[in-house]
Symmetry: C2
Amino acid sequence: MSKERYHHGELRAALLDAAEALVRERGVDGWSLREASARVGVSPSAAYHHFDSRDALVRTLSERVIARLGERLRRAAHRASGDHRHRRLIAYGRSYVRWALEDPAVARLAFAAGHTDLRTPISPHPHDVLAAELDRLVDTGELPSAARPGAEFVVWAAVHGLATLLTDGLVHLDGLRAVDREAERLIDAVLTGLTREQPPARPWPTPRSAHSQRLADRAPDTPTTTTALASKPTEAPS
Amino acid sequence: MSKERYHHGELRAALLDAAEALVRERGVDGWSLREASARVGVSPSAAYHHFDSRDALVRTLSERVIARLGERLRRAAHRASGDHRHRRLIAYGRSYVRWALEDPAVARLAFAAGHTDLRTPISPHPHDVLAAELDRLVDTGELPSAARPGAEFVVWAAVHGLATLLTDGLVHLDGLRAVDREAERLIDAVLTGLTREQPPARPWPTPRSAHSQRLADRAPDTPTTTTALASKPTEAPS
DNA sequence: CGTACATCTGAGCACTGTTAAGATGTACGG
DNA sequence: CCGTACATCTTAACAGTGCTCAGATGTACG
């Protein structure tokens, strides 16, 4: 399955793999389509039979990576143990940040601008996994349901921000332990903050379950929050 | 000061301006050095007498933009009024997010990877402005001093994360009002969370004033947090 | 076996960042 | 007022890029 000239093969997947490896090795922009093609053993123009453009290739890769992250986050939350109130979400946050740090270039590519097609659904999207966890928190009474609507974006912002600051080199923490602690502290702070939130009648669309705040079903009058890249409810990743 | 062939002129500044405009118009990567040179009325290679590479140009621009943001944030915090406990920091967060949304491409460029030289000091760095505000909060007794060390990174992560999610199109809020409310909610949650933080003896380097957590003075034993792009205490921007 | 079709190749276009050598204007001591 | 020194900018060229298009090549299937 290696030496053979591709033809009826998995050129598409092979190109994605090569591109991902190149991003990992040389950074988000330190590679060319030609290079990926060459690495796969194919002429530069072959790629254009599988992707409209280099950008399309990158977008597809981004989606694949995000879906993998989503799966990882879901598993992390489900496996979470301990006696901390917020253990599941702390696991979520820790896993998110660790993922970004393990592969900074790929992480950066995943969320880079323009890769969000709004229309393309992503399998277990990190946002949806988070929303599900928050719903669970409401069910167990650990989060007042009044605080639920939109809470996903508060938590996501916090986690995503820490990950971004770290991968972009704006903040540096020495060692994985320090990173874990920081993530934990952040999640804990945000969640207790949300829990004790004054209820000054925030005009949010009525509480909903996860996988809901989409472009489609926006509340008509109030300003509405929408997520790019929503997903079909549940689905195993490739 | 216009038609004249540059020579003894401000080519350097003019190139930065042209590049910034191009980024604004066509996105972080939708422009070339040659184009910026042409717009300024100069040959492509002229730029190389002022910058080592295109990347160096971008780095310099990034620093200029971050410094401008820092100044803006400082002003916003100082001007803050109202009776909310966290009004100054809410103003900070709101201003940060608004800035990012006003000019998404430029904001993205500002914090993009590799532009952080660790060595180059940035005039009023957003991090330092934030740290100063947190110190103030401790002084007025609104934040327990035990929660102070490292708090800057928690708050920064939250704010930066919201800004990033918005500029990268991962989350969409309809209207500036909604954005402001979200920023407010986020800051408020994080700060109350930090305030009520259980004191499980977090091993942080002893509390310090702002402008402190640098590469230089790290606590020797505990994992240490350092910021890229620190700054001289105070200084008017160009 | 031969035709239809997806798949890949080769050559080439306009463009990029970057370098080297040389032209050009500016400043300033005689 | 001249001439030399120097910073500044230009011209020409390099290798490499994304992308297109006409054609070669292999694969499947009647």
